[in-house]
Symmetry: C2
Subunit: 289 residues, 2 copies
Amino acid sequence: MSITVAIVAPGEMGSAIGRELRAGGARVLTSLQGRSAASAARVQKEGFEAVADDDALVAQADYLLSVVPPGSAVALAERFAPALARAARKPVYADCNAVSPGTAREIGRILAPSGCPFADGALFGGPTSGKPGIVLYASGPGAAAMTRLAEFGPKVRVMEGPVGAASGMKLSFAGINKGFTALGAFMILAATRAGCTAEVRQMLADTQPALLAYMEKFVPAMFPKAYRWEPEMREIAAYLGSEDPPAGEVFTAIARLYGRLAQDLAAGGQGEIADLARFCGAAVPGTAR
Amino acid sequence: MSITVAIVAPGEMGSAIGRELRAGGARVLTSLQGRSAASAARVQKEGFEAVADDDALVAQADYLLSVVPPGSAVALAERFAPALARAARKPVYADCNAVSPGTAREIGRILAPSGCPFADGALFGGPTSGKPGIVLYASGPGAAAMTRLAEFGPKVRVMEGPVGAASGMKLSFAGINKGFTALGAFMILAATRAGCTAEVRQMLADTQPALLAYMEKFVPAMFPKAYRWEPEMREIAAYLGSEDPPAGEVFTAIARLYGRLAQDLAAGGQGEIADLARFCGAAVPGTAR
């Protein structure tokens, strides 16, 4: 027996998970309420079924996945709470956005009066990672019910923790990867200014080859993503800073670095981007390697 | 033909390099001017020759190595500048301390009127690293002359850069290692608070095994050094912050983390130290593994 999954609103990541579910035999719905003509065309191209309004969407869906920019996650829950409260049959509502554990708990509180099971979700893989296959982590009261999605394509991992565990995992993992990359960039730039890149590279090669390999791979891969990572680092800073102020300060500073590098790249990448590329043995933008 | 190396003042690191030079056949001198009885006893135990005052030290030395806490490096140069100016035969003065490139340049300016060749030096290995053998990096006008020390034990690497290159390398390298360790600790603590350590570990094992291995090894190894790394991170913060304010903020926050962990360890290590140890599969202080 198939399932019906509503995805609101299918941007790049939402479309990817919808595509995977459709390929696995699930029916994918979306609402066009308040969406642009471009969104409608995209939805049609993907083969998702568009319904006229939120009540119709909720009435047909077994699962409702919220896949939006982090800043829109709370508003989406507020928008759907009345329709979910009115519905006779309650879908599982899964917030799959890169929000903080506190925001995930807030969304849980907004949806609680509707009576629908709520899962805190975190998506890994997919279009922005360059890796095929999506993995959905889920925690909280609605998490166990998410396992059925795995029959239709995406890998699903149910976590034992409460609402907030999946979000915390998403931000912790992103913070490790994107934080290490930033720290590597900060120190490469310092070594460049001090005129000691050759010696720092050699000492890393001699004593910490795994770190050098990490930096060589992930620092250049960051260049085109820096513009996107800047707001993500601010999200992590807000999350961490409320619990651990120095950790928040680290990620605020990292956001500023990524913002600066994004500007440099947009201007041709001949400043710090070029210094980083040279250290990593990567192509400097606009030059033959 | 042997050489005479003056080491001021031989603490743990200074004694280690003096020992290596003596074992290699060099004569090691030190001055007891303004030093305690304990220092005098240490000097005697090491077999270093103590001379009565700074003029006598300068008169006999081929090399004068400054190996002091970073905060004392400028004062030592100021103390020796008059004796070096008076000396008929000028030794090479090498500042071997973990100071910023700016401080190294300041020391160069202080010594310039004396007419003695100045080298910016950086020591790696030795007692605090747990690795045998000391490597001395040197840059600036006196650097080439430092190669002779290699005939008496320590490895010497002459850098092409000016005064500041060796210091910059020392701090860049320390910043990479100790910064990555701190970032790992921040994120392990965040995952612990969010209740998702098992999943973060698993995802690191699946996608970033080298980072996980790095954290498992270097985070627990940091515990007993955190008290010492706190002021070192503040030195790095001051250095980086003058050139790159966000980088300075990162290391100020890291200094606060190390200060906090040092306090936790001193109090028995049952708080964040225990959380970090558990994540890394290391022994929690005061418990059987």
